[in-house]
Assembly symmetry: C2
Homo-oligomer: 165 residues x 2
């Protein structure tokens, strides 16, 4: 079930999550090797914490989910630095309307505009990449004499699993 113009992915509740997390880590590793970037233990743990859920997490939630005793937990700044690294490498997105972060499972090219679908009920986040959306936004921007760079598109609503279930 594939389309030419758009690809949409919403995490099904019963999907093989271990595998999708493992795949994402593997992808991150090979990508960092290819770019001579260092996926350090902390960065890896932050990514793993985000991959363990499909919900956007704030910095403090990430800290909590990284485990270890309270005294051993990294400071917020450490998390933000790891997130900065992961974002620069396209492994993590920031959900602006939530002040939170989510692991990227989409493997899109950098610069590709991504539409985030935020379920208001279960909190899960889907990604929909659409070339037509990108084109429409570009032309609308240019009609206003605007040179667009990084579009942020976030849509709140109800996902199919919550509506049907």
């Amino acid at each position: 079930m594939k389309k030419t113009a758009s690809v949409a992915a919403f995490p099904a509740p019963g999907h093989d999550h271990d595998r999708c997390a493992t795949d994402a880590i593997a992808h991150a590793e090979s990508l960092c090797v290819a770019r001579a970037q260092r996926l350090t233990p902390i960065r890896r743990r932050v990514l793993e914490a985000l991959l363990a859920t499909h919900k956007p997490l704030g910095a403090y939630e990430i800290i909590e989910r990284m485990g270890g005793k309270a005294a051993e937990r990294p400071a917020p700044i450490t998390i933000y630095r790891a997130l900065e690294f992961l974002r620069e490498n396209g492994l993590v997105h920031r959900i602006e309307s939530r002040n939170a972060f989510i692991a990227c499972i989409h493997k899109h090219a950098s610069g590709d505009p991504v539409v985030f679908l935020l379920c208001e009920r279960c909190g899960a986040v889907g990604e929909a990449a659409s070339a037509s959306i990108a084109e429409t936004l570009k032309s609308a921007s240019r009609a206003a004499g605007f040179t667009p760079k990084t579009p942020v598109i976030e849509i709140a609503g109800i996902c199919s699993h919550c509506r049907e279930g």
Copy 2:
């Protein structure tokens, strides 16, 4: 120079700003009268502070721009409450990617998706309403089995005045 599908407005540096602010206040007043809502002095001052610039302002910036001696300035919570009121009535938008707020000059219908164009150089924010964008986003959402509600679209880039000037 008008289009059928999209209307774009980027504030020109030399536009008649007094008038655009006055108009917006007048619109806010008549709208509140029509809805039996109260445009109290504080709410009015918050709106005026936002109208005095076309840049998104944070809560503290709004407080500073509301004037008065430091001791007389309202607390942040007061600002947030006024912003909540103004947002509910479509007079103010929140720019999610900036954690800031901007007065609405667009007079669009509530629920209409608005595209915000954020100039990275001068900080001004333009609005572009586009029916085709709305349609494209809706169809992309539905392709993912998603029922969309409130879309957030923010595009960072360079406005025409900054590029040319």
